[in-house]
Amino acid sequence: MSETATSASPWRPWRFLSRRLNAIGLTGKGLVILAPTLWLVVFFLVPLVIVGQISLSLMAYGQPPYEPLLTFGADGTVQLTLHLSNFLFLLSDSLYINAYLSSLRVAFVSTVIALLIGYPMAYYIARAPEKYRHLLLMLVILPFWTSFLLRVYAWIGFLRGNGVINNFLMWTGLIDAPITMLQTDFAVYVGIVYTYLPFMILPLYTSLVKLDGTLLEASADLGAKPLRTFLSVTLPLSMPGIIAGSMLVFIPAIGEYVIPALLGGPDTLMIGRVLWDEFFSNRDWPVASAVAVAMLIVVVVPIMLMQRAQDAVVERR
């Protein structure tokens, strides 16, 4: 019986391939995991190692603009030189520490504002009739169809002295002279909140739309007024969305370069700008790399804290 089946079966390249892969210990599951692993190794881990290596080097004039870590002596010795001076330099110059603290502040405040704006929007979309939800979500994502850079430039048109907002306010007579909004921290907050708001709304929406409406009814039935129901039922059950959304806003906001560069003033200090200046203006790759590595540490710590908080929330279910 098996013989006839084999002779009648068509050529199956997939079966051949999978047999070969199985022979070297690769199953379908292994392949699925292998692809992203390879991607992360090539495009994340290797560059990270390179950056880490440069940060331990010294600036040099030439190509590449830093000294190699390994030097080969004429007598066949290999010398490994690690310079920690770049990191010490970061600690010694208050500019860098201030930039980090300022970045954390800007990212934190922006996250809180995005949460305060995004939560009602996500709540409304999740509670809207089902047929409108996709349309409303679409509107949230719609800005992504335009280049990020263009959208930030558009804000210049809104915020500048003779921009749309000032002209409107003067036309209504609310103000006599234009308010300075562009090149202030305010403009940076506007830009960051505007840009990252969808990243806050989407995870919030996902957790709010899953919220069982009968839980809200049960809460009301047990005597809770709407605000109490929100605080005791809706808010705790949407905590995973709050945490995920906050991470998605906070983390990129820390290292944000374009928005403070375009909308911020000369005194808007953010680590992304410092990094850019080190890299492109000072051409000091080692210090720029040290800034990047330090920033990674600054970002990773809050990620780990939030991740732990999220695990705790999931655990409590």
């Binding site: 009968t214 839980l215 049960a218 809460s219 039935d221 047990l222 005597g223 279910r317």
Partner: protein, 379 residues
């Protein structure tokens, strides 16, 4: 499982002067153009365990949700304990509900779930703790107070939901398919517990269910709903033995229905000629009908007897052949093909073990019944 029905005072609905606890007056609820509930009037008395019974889409859940305050009636009024409920929000009603899905708060422990309503009343902490402990004892969940709902079995969750709904000592408890999610055995046990708790606490229960067995065994009275309207209200025995329409007769239990024409209409008896039955049907009491009127005779399977010999008499005897027998252990269901071509269902209790003389497949039999065994229905 029913409440003892000996003393007259346990059945206030029989007393025309009794004051109802819940008064539903001409309530209609429209969703768009659809009448979910259509002009329902209903009185429910204190201490009752009233079952709203109906298929899906019969409006029973909508009626319950209007009592809880989650839906507003399009027209009509609802009074609970003498107070008009119009524009009273759910959180101010003296009513608690046990949800079909239980709707337990997943992020709270069993204790916190039960205490939720009490906290809203701002009771002192010690009193809340006492009340929670008491309720856990009532539903036999003392060791599970610290668990989360997802760590409980279906039956345990059901009891938490019940305890939470009872925590505020509501005057009226609404239960939406309370036993629907439980398996059969658990459901039967829980039915007893539910009735016991209801009797102990003296709370008025309104239970929505689609399960007629559940309604029969739980209820003091049943309201059968159909297409948003009440088809019949009555005690379980009334609804089963004296249905008022073909719908009610067919919805509750199984029934054999014969169409026929009135040929004799006397004050003390009625004779119906039915070609469907293949014989005359004699009813030994008067019926509100006219000669030559077409009507229906409904008879339950257990009210029909089968015999090999033709019994005496000129009516209520239909000849046929046994087509099929379903042996259920406690009883057997016979499917008999009458000579008229109509199939009927007859059940017989298996009183003897391995009865060698039992009627078997393909035997010719006479199906017969007494003059008082069935109901004459005009609609």
């Amino acid at each position: 499982m029913k409440k003892p029905q000996t003393a007259a005072d346990t059945r206030p609905w029989r007393d025309p002067g009794a004051k109802p606890f819940v008064r539903i007056r001409n309530v209609t609820k429209k969703f768009g153009d659809v009448f979910a509930v259509d002009d329902v009037s209903l009185d429910i008395f204190k201490g009752e365990l009233f079952c709203l019974l109906g298929g899906s889409g019969s409006g029973k859940s909508t009626l319950l949700r209007m009592l809880a305050g989650f839906e507003d009636p399009t027209s009509g009024s609802i009074e609970i304990d003498g107070q008009d409920m119009a524009s009273v929000p759910p959180y101010r009603r003296p009513v608690n509900m046990m949800f079909q899905s239980y709707a337990l708060f997943p992020h709270m422990s069993v204790e916190a779930n039960i205490a939720y309503g009490l906290k809203r009343d701002h009771l002192p902490k010690a009193e809340i703790a006492d009340r929670v402990a008491e309720l856990l004892r009532l539903v036999k969940l003392e060791p599970y107070g610290k668990r989360k709902p997802h760590q409980l079995s279906g039956g345990q969750r059901q009891r938490v939901a019940l305890a939470r709904a009872l925590a505020k000592r509501p005057k009226l408890l609404l239960l939406d398919e309370p036993l629907g999610a439980l398996d059969k055995k658990l459901r039967e046990e829980t039915q007893f517990e539910l009735v016991k708790i209801q009797e102990t606490l003296g709370v008025t229960f309104i239970v929505v269910t689609h399960d007629q067995e559940e309604a029969m065994s739980l209820a003091t009275r049943i309201g059968v709903m159909r297409e948003g309207a009440i088809a019949m209200i009555g005690e379980p025995t009334d609804v089963y033995e004296f249905p008022n329409s073909r719908f009610v007769a067919g919805f509750i239990g199984s029934v054999n229905m014969f169409e026929g024409v009135v040929v004799e209409d006397e004050p003390d008896h009625v004779r119906i000629r039915s070609t469907e039955a293949g014989c005359d049907i004699y009813v030994n009491h008067g019926v509100d009908c006219a000669p030559d009127q077409v009507l229906w005779f409904a008879i339950r399977p257990e009210k029909i007897s089968l015999s090999r010999e033709r019994p005496e008499g000129d009516a209520n005897i239909a000849k046929g052949m046994v087509e099929d027998i379903a042996y259920l252990g406690d009883m057997s269901v016979y499917q008999v093909m009458l000579d008229s071509g109509k199939r009927i269902r007859v059940t017989k209790a298996n009183a003897l073990r391995g009865d060698p003389d039992a009627i078997s497949w393909d035997e010719e039999v006479y199906a017969h019944w007494g003059g008082n065994a069935g109901s004459v229905l005009t609609s």
